[in-house]
């Protein structure tokens, strides 16, 4: 590992041609993965991610490089290659480095590395058994578990060394149901920045598995979803992907700073219905999208994005913050050393409202109940988004009626936020992977049950009657 003296030398090599900021990001991550297929262990893997990234900033320019050669020689050669992008004289000098203590706010009672392979596999097999017993129509079961410890060293020309160790683990339980020509899938993926105690205590593996199987079986016999503009009630938990796609990405400084977001210039203005308050909170204890510090060394933050419909804050990294004249707020993230970090979400969710989920359904005469959603995507410049429903029903006269399959929801973020007219009191979060410029990172989405007027529903079942 690089000594302080060597790190100072590397930073100064990077700064030698006029860059105003330099940082070294070193990562050593070991990941363990287990896969149980149809009741038997099919895969087991160990993978090690190891390397360093160097970033130099010069006003509004950034240069980035990465290598697996984490020796002084390797990093000096990279820093000096990157410095050739600028042609000035050195103005910032690093003379000393101070170790900043990073407090771990996400305790691990049973680190996953200390839990035996057998115990983790036995946990997966409990889920597998429930799915197998759910029906003969379940033709394929896949249960996987993976965990890693990621040891990070971040050294910046502001004179600090941050050392952080992140532990994350995630399970994925999925199945395929088939009957004749019809095939449907169901699945769920609970995860946390925690040890194995999370999976023992907070995840009811039998329940998660049963719900995945039931959902696939139910969709087998569901009718095709009707299409057209409808009132849509979106279930809690992963339903929050609507906010993630419709609004979250467009609040990232990477889009806002270049005026490439529909929400650029809208701070202090009403962008959502007055009943909407939404947060991005990277501090949630053991949260899947939580961190102690972000990838620029700023502490993670609970950020109020929207308060009573008014836009309060963006998600800002230091670099894009320069273009906006604003400070970073702990939102700078990356997948690994192979990615230049930028502004991203952490755990993003709509806060609780006043209605019960039952009241929301009861108040809906005709519409779609999108109980659970799959992923989606958005174009931040236009705000247009889409996402798919994994389980959905028609609501008639205030009651949940027939299930429908193949529904997708399409809209523009700005419109949907204004059209939220009821919010439940059953906030839940769910885990996902979010892909964008700085790679694929763990994020939580979340919301209580909400109702949105006038969403375009795509499906193959004709008009809703």
């Amino acid at each position: 590992m690089l000594s302080k003296k060597q790190a100072i030398e590397v930073l100064n090599a990077g700064l030698s041609t006029g860059a105003d900021y330099a940082e070294i990001f070193i990562e050593d991550r070991t990941n363990h993965g287990y896969g149980v297929e149809n009741g038997e262990v099919k895969t087991a893997t160990v993978s090690n991610t190891y390397g360093a990234g160097i970033r130099l900033l010069n006003k509004l320019q950034s240069v980035y490089g990465y290598t697996n050669d984490v020796s002084k020689k390797g990093l000096l050669s990279l820093a000096s290659a990157l410095s050739h992008s600028f042609e000035g004289k050195q103005e910032v000098f690093v003379k000393s480095l101070k170790l900043k203590n990073v407090k771990n706010r996400h305790p691990h009672i049973r680190p996953n590395d200390t839990v035996s392979d057998e115990e983790k596999i036995a946990w997966l097999k409990r889920g597998d058994k429930v799915m197998k017993e759910a029906s003969d129509k379940i033709v394929r079961r896949n249960c996987s578990f993976s965990h890693y410890v990621n040891n990070i060293t971040l050294i910046t020309s502001k004179g600090f060394i941050f050392k952080d160790s992140k532990e994350r683990a995630r399970a994925y339980l999925s199945c395929v149901a088939a009957e004749g020509d019809k095939i449907e899938v169901g699945g769920a993926g609970p995860g946390a920045s925690a040890g194995f105690e999370y999976f023992e205590k907070n995840v009811d593996v039998e329940k998660v598995a049963k719900e995945a199987a039931d959902s696939a079986l139910l969709m087998l016999n569901a009718k095709e979803c009707p299409s057209g503009k409808m009132t849509v009630v979106i279930g809690n938990g992963f339903g929050g992907v609507i906010f993630h796609e419709a609004c979250g990405h467009a609040l990232e400084a990477s889009a806002v700073s270049k005026n490439l977001s529909v929400f650029a210039g809208k701070l202090g203005k009403q962008i959502a219905s007055p009943i909407v308050t939404a947060y991005d909170d990277g501090t949630i204890v053991n949260g899947w999208g939580s961190n102690n510090i972000d990838d620029e060394g700023n502490p993670t933050h609970r950020t109020v994005l929207i308060e009573k419909g008014i836009l309060k804050s963006y998600l800002i990294d230091n670099f894009n913050g320069r273009r906006m004249g604003m400070e970073g707020n702990g939102a700078c993230r990356r997948e690994s050393y192979k990615f230049e970090p930028t502004s991203r979400m952490s755990n993003t969710f709509i806060g609780n409202g006043k209605s019960t989920p039952e009241e929301i359904i009861k108040a809906t005469k005709l519409g779609l109940y999108a109980k659970s959603l799959k992923g989606g995507s958005v174009n931040p410049a236009t705000g247009e988004f889409n996402f798919g429903c994994s389980e959905a029903y028609i609501i008639r006269d205030g009651k949940i009626c027939e299930p429908v399959r193949g529904a997708s929801l399409i809209g523009s973020g700005a419109e949907v936020l204004m059209n939220i007219d009821m919010i439940g009191n059953d906030l839940e979060r769910a885990q996902g992977m979010c892909g964008a410029a700085s790679g694929s990172i763990p994020t939580d989405v979340g919301q209580p049950t909400i109702r949105v007027q006038n969403i375009l529903v795509g499906g193959n079942g004709g008009e809703l009657k």
């Binding site: 262990v41 990157l82 449907e184 490439l260 799959k374 992923g375 174009n379 410049a381 399409i410 795509g458």
Partner: protein, 441 residues
């Protein structure tokens, strides 16, 4: 960075492994992007990785690492033993001795690796300038970027097989926004090739700008079923999803749409799809990731399913030869190499000519969420144009297109002649589908 392969294979033998293999990869790339004429990002990277596999008591162990030094062989051996010891399935574990013949071609073009971004930055600035000048309605040039990447890999195993690959890829990409009143539309394009001479700057600028401009004035159409023409890109996207059912493992596990359909009709007679991994382009592969030689073959011939895609394991289980489609990850699966749809005779204009009222689909979004490749059902966000009296009319945005892949490819009316290379590796022309459900208003 180097690792001593021999030490790994000697250790594997000493530890009683039945067989072992290694994939060693190296990648070097230079890239940069320009915003408002300034370089806003520049990246240089040099990275190595090694994946080791071994068969211990008939089971596969798998370890990968990016920390490559004298301790790496022992790290791999230890991890392979541990992971192999956990495997319970009795599926065949095979490390391949080698194909009789490999059709290796040199696709490496050293001109791709300029090693100097100064000239490229000027090219990017020129592209930005031309994009801004293209039309008053071009509101912003969000990004203009360049990348050159060298990829090298060596697959070697304890039977003495050694397969080397070396390619270099150049790419340019750009995104613009166009504005008209309050309406914003985006245009985007990526060019990627093994030959920098193929880059046509003027055409690239035109394609990016027009991609945004032609969407301005978009409306939503009436919701109903329309005769639908899929653009080359969207044809390729839907067909690629359909072809994911070729995976022999999905077939074996009864979760493919093609179960029991080998040598049967799975699409209209007008559809022929050929896999050509040996074509010299960015997708060239003369062997798969298990070391099996690839070859040119029909996947669908006049609507008839010609083959599934087999790995060593699925081929052995089915009692057939592997097809050179193995892909390695945590577990070995299959992958489709570069393929193309056999083009028809009619131009796009001729395809559109008989359609009184229909829809031409140019963009599909959210395929990871709105597409169920196993059931074939999809419901996707789309953009495109109305077709009126045989010609493209007003642009459409925020519409959805829904259907089932089996129905779509069984009801092809016509296949166009306007084939376009696609970055998903499946080249396709426009395809005219009898009817698809489109939702808008």
């Amino acid at each position: 960075m180097k690792m001593n392969e021999n030490i790994f294979f000697v250790l594997a033998k000493e530890n009683g492994f039945e067989a072992a293999d290694l994939i060693f990869e190296h990648s070097y790339s230079l890239s940069c992007s320009v915003f408002h004429k300034e370089v806003d990002s520049l990246t240089e990277s040099d990275s190595y990785s090694v994946v080791g596999r071994g068969i211990v008591n008939g089971k596969f162990g798998l370890v990968s690492t990016e920390k490559i030094d004298k301790d790496t062989p022992e790290f791999l051996i230890k991890g392979i033993k541990e992971t192999a010891g956990l495997i319970e399935t009795n599926d065949p574990s095979i490390i391949f001795k080698g194909s009789e013949k490999y059709h290796k071609k040199n696709v490496f073009n050293k001109e791709v690796l300029s090693g100097d971004l100064t000239k490229q930055i000027e090219v990017l600035r020129l592209i930005e300038e031309k994009l801004r000048a293209y039309d008053k309605r071009i509101d912003e040039v969000a990004v203009v970027g360049y990348d050159e990447t060298l990829s090298e890999s060596t697959l070697s195993n304890s039977y003495g097989l050694k397969l080397k690959d070396k390619t270099a890829t150049v790419s340019y990409y750009a995104e613009v926004t166009a504005k008209q009143g309050e309406e914003i539309q985006t245009g985007f394009k990526v060019f990627a090739s093994i030959d920098p001479k193929e880059f046509d700057l003027e055409k690239f600028v035109k394609d990016v700008a027009e991609d945004a401009l032609r969407k301005l004035g978009s409306v939503q159409c009436e919701s109903k079923k329309y005769p639908t023409v899929l653009s080359p890109r969207t044809s390729s996207q839907l067909l690629k999803a359909y072809l994911s059912n070729l995976d022999a493992e999905e077939v074996e596990k009864k979760s493919s749409l093609f179960v029991g359909k080998l040598h049967q009709q799975i699409a209209s007679k007008k559809l022929t799809v050929i896999e050509d991994p040996l074509k010299k382009n960015i997708f060239f592969e003369y062997h798969d990731e298990e070391g099996v030689a690839t070859y040119k073959k029909f996947l669908i011939k006049k609507g008839i399913l010609e083959t599934y895609l087999y790995t060593l394991e699925t081929a052995k289980k089915a009692g057939v030869e592997p097809t050179g489609n193995g892909a390695r990850g945590a577990r070995t699966g299959s992958t489709l190499h570069y393929s193309y749809v056999k083009p028809g005779k009619k131009s796009l204009d001729e395809l559109l000519a008989p359609i009184q009222e229909g829809v031409y689909i140019t963009n599909l979004e959210g395929l990871h969420a709105g597409m169920n490749t196993r059931s074939g059902n999809f419901s996707l966000q789309a953009q495109g144009f109305m077709i009126r009296n045989g010609k493209l009319a007003e642009p459409l945005s925020l519409i959805t297109v829904a259907g089932n892949l089996v129905e779509v490819f069984s009801s092809i009316k016509e296949i166009g002649s306007d084939s376009e290379f696609q970055l998903n590796g499946l080249e396709s022309p426009s395809i005219y589908i009898k009817k698809l459900a489109i939702s808008g208003k």
